[in-house]
């Protein structure tokens, strides 16, 4: 058992006691070994190549990493902000089988225009029925005969006219356009020919 507690020095406080630890110092030989070991380790550090993951981490903490991070952030923003503008609009069923265009910026009017002939009631009428239609209706349907129209140019029809479609509009506002195969491509009416 120590005698220190019984014979403890007077006026010794905690700070003095802790300051005693400043006296715990290595010898000169210790520092010689320390310097030698440290130089060897530093040399190894200079020569040794870091593992790939350390280099990767170092790269990400450097300017390359910052550039990659900025590019990634820009890509994310582009995906979130810009991508919804390129979302394809659901096409009508009649066009579902057709290859949809990737960019259809104004789908709504286009659908209306394209679908208009579909919405209009279409009747397939024979020539005799059209003649009956003219006699009964309050409008007149002109039949443009390819035979008559082609007389001047010595045109001989080598195909038969099977049927034609006539769009029905308001009686006071429309007339029936009929055309044969010769003039159908020039017609701007809604009527179309079906062969």
């Amino acid at each position: 058992m120590s005698k220190l507690p019984e014979e403890r020095p007077a006026d010794i406080n905690l700070e003095d006691l802790l300051r005693l630890k400043r006296s715990e110092r290595p010898s000169e030989a210790f520092w010689n070994d320390f310097d030698r070991d440290l130089h060897q380790r530093m040399l190894q550090t200079l020569v040794k190549k870091d593992p790939w993951y350390i280099q990767l981490m170092r790269g990400f903490s450097g300017r390359i990493g910052q550039s990659v991070a900025v590019a990634a952030a820009a890509a994310v923003v582009a995906m979130v902000v810009v991508r919804p503008a390129f979302q394809p609009v659901a096409a009508p069923e009649s066009f579902a089988a057709a290859p949809a265009p990737v960019v259809e910026v104004t789908p709504a009017p286009a659908v209306e225009i394209v679908s208009a002939p579909v919405e209009v009631a279409v009747a397939q009428l024979s020539l005799a029925e059209i003649a009956d239609l003219n006699s009964a209706a309050d409008y007149h349907a002109d039949i443009i005969s390819v035979d008559g129209a082609a007389n001047d140019v010595n045109f001989v029809r080598d195909f038969g006219l099977e049927s034609m479609q006539v769009a029905s509009y308001e009686a006071s506002a429309y007339s029936v356009d009929t055309a044969n195969a010769r003039v159908s491509f020039a017609s701007t009416g809604v009527a179309s020919l079906v062969y």
């Binding site: 220190l4 020095p9 905690l14 005693l20 006296s23």
Partner: protein, 210 residues
């Protein structure tokens, strides 16, 4: 060779003329960054004893302290290219030392063993030694060893955070603001931890105190 007592002198000078001390270190750092690897040795020679003292008093093991001090300088050497001089070099290297030691202490869940440095009686000016000089050489040696063991045991009973503050302030002689900068805490936290730690030490060492 610089003494441990010169630590407070070094930092006292740093406080009196912080820019000049800081600029001196910064000039050396810039030389190292420019490729003059040998200039780093100047920083090692200047701070090795201070760093060793901190780590040794944190771990109470001279071999661990030696390894950790070397590791501190290796880390500083590897990272010196990224040192921008926003803080002083001594703050930076102390922070590396503290963080390295804290990581080591967390891994070392239990104290393996303790190995002390011999007390250099020539440089000790404490009243304890003055009173011990009246005793015979044999008695003095035994008392010093017992006191050393008791001191280190008491320090090891403190938590690492409280031990860090005590070591930096009471043994290394750093100011509260410097410790706050090194440990990245507020001055109030440093004072609080110091007050609590000293209370704990008082109770552990009551048999040795007046």
């Amino acid at each position: 060779m610089a003494t441990t007592g010169s630590v407070s002198k070094t930092f006292a000078q740093a406080q009196d003329a912080p820019l000049s001390e800081r600029d001196l270190d910064w000039a050396v750092v810039q030389r190292v960054q420019a490729g003059n690897v040998g200039a780093f040795d100047q920083l090692v020679q200047k701070y090795r004893e201070h760093i060793f003292s901190v780590v040794y008093n944190m771990t109470s093991n001279r071999e661990d302290a030696s390894d950790l001090t070397q590791e501190t300088f290796i880390k500083a050497f590897q990272a010196i290219g990224r040192f921008k001089g926003k803080s002083s070099f001594f703050t930076w290297i102390y922070r590396i030392a503290i963080n390295t030691t804290m990581t080591f202490l967390k891994k070392r869940s239990r104290r393996r063993y303790i190995s002390y440095e011999n007390i250099n009686e020539e440089v000790s000016t404490t009243e304890i030694f003055e009173s011990l000089t009246a005793k015979t050489r044999t008695e003095k040696g035994a008392l010093v060893q017992e006191l050393q063991e008791k001191l280190n045991d008491s320090l090891q009973k403190l938590s690492p955070k409280h031990r860090t503050v005590v070591v930096l302030h009471e043994i290394e002689g750093l100011g509260h603001a410097e410790i706050a900068e090194i440990t990245k805490t507020s001055v109030g936290t440093v004072r609080s931890r110091l007050h609590y730690a000293k209370q704990q030490l008082q109770s552990y060492l009551k048999d040795y105190l007046a």
